[in-house]
């Protein structure tokens, strides 16, 4: 099966294409995709320690099973808005 992986924020510095089709075995999970993506990253980064993942625009856990055609987004910690110092 094939899923489309989207990279955002600093992950764009690790992957040449912001949007990439990836072939996966049937029944592969978010965890498996993350392992694969990390292997293909152009360099090491701490960003992997603090990611969230969205499948078809909904936040998803590591055990989520992917389906053919899914859109999987790898999301570094977000920083929208402006900084609020509490």
């Amino acid at each position: 099966m094939q899923v489309t992986v989207l990279y955002f924020g600093m992950l764009k510095d690790l992957f040449p294409d912001e949007r990439q089709p990836i072939e996966l075995a049937d029944g592969e999970t978010v965890a498996g995709l993350l392992r694969l993506s990390q292997e293909h990253a152009s360099k090491q980064s701490d960003v992997w320690m603090a990611l969230a993942v969205a499948v078809n625009r909904e936040y998803a856990g590591v055990d989520t099973v992917l389906k053919d055609g899914d859109e999987v987004a790898l999301l570094p910690p977000v920083s929208g808005g402006c900084e609020v110092v509490v």
Partner: protein, 157 residues
């Protein structure tokens, strides 16, 4: 509710005028603007980018949650993307209700939660280089930790 992501300058006055209605006694506004420095490092400009469709859906969900949680009458939530100069508004939040207390609370909750959960990132361009801004950690229920993705067998190696 007016929930938008825009590539244009945010029309602050228009948004504020548009939200006021007869039953309201208060509108609380949060105007998030680009500061001229980060920890003393001089900022030239910022570039905001988003996972646009998801960010908009998340903003809509946040506004609905806030309306229910605080019982406010109406909410406007507008975020700008692209290149922003010092002093530009990046995010505008306006909360209208009959009484002021809940508008302050809802406004504060909206910006704090938006900054943790809505997929928008900013790259800061300084006079001496550019970096992706450090985001806040995702709330526990949304974030993944990489060690969770490593199987027990691999951990032994």
């Amino acid at each position: 509710m007016r929930i938008e992501i825009t590539d244009e300058r945010i029309a602050t006055v228009e948004v504020l005028d548009g939200i006021k209605a007869g039953p309201d006694g208060a509108v609380c506004v949060f105007d998030g603007i680009v500061r001229n420095n980060t920890r003393g490092r001089q900022t030239l400009y910022l570039v905001y980018e988003a996972y646009r469709e998801m960010a908009l859906e998340q903003m809509r969900a946040l506004a609905e949650q806030a309306a229910a949680k605080f019982g406010v009458r109406d909410i406007a939530l507008v975020h700008r993307l692209g290149k922003l100069e010092v002093g530009d508004t990046s995010v505008l939040i306006a909360v209208a209700s009959a009484h002021r207390g809940v508008t302050f609370e809802a406004c504060r909750w909206l910006i704090d939660t938006l900054k943790k959960t809505v997929p928008i990132w900013k790259k800061e361009y300084f006079i001496d280089g550019a970096v992706w801004a450090d985001g806040e950690a995702f709330p526990e229920e949304l974030g993944l930790r990489l060690e969770e993705t490593v199987s027990p067998d691999e951990k032994k190696v």
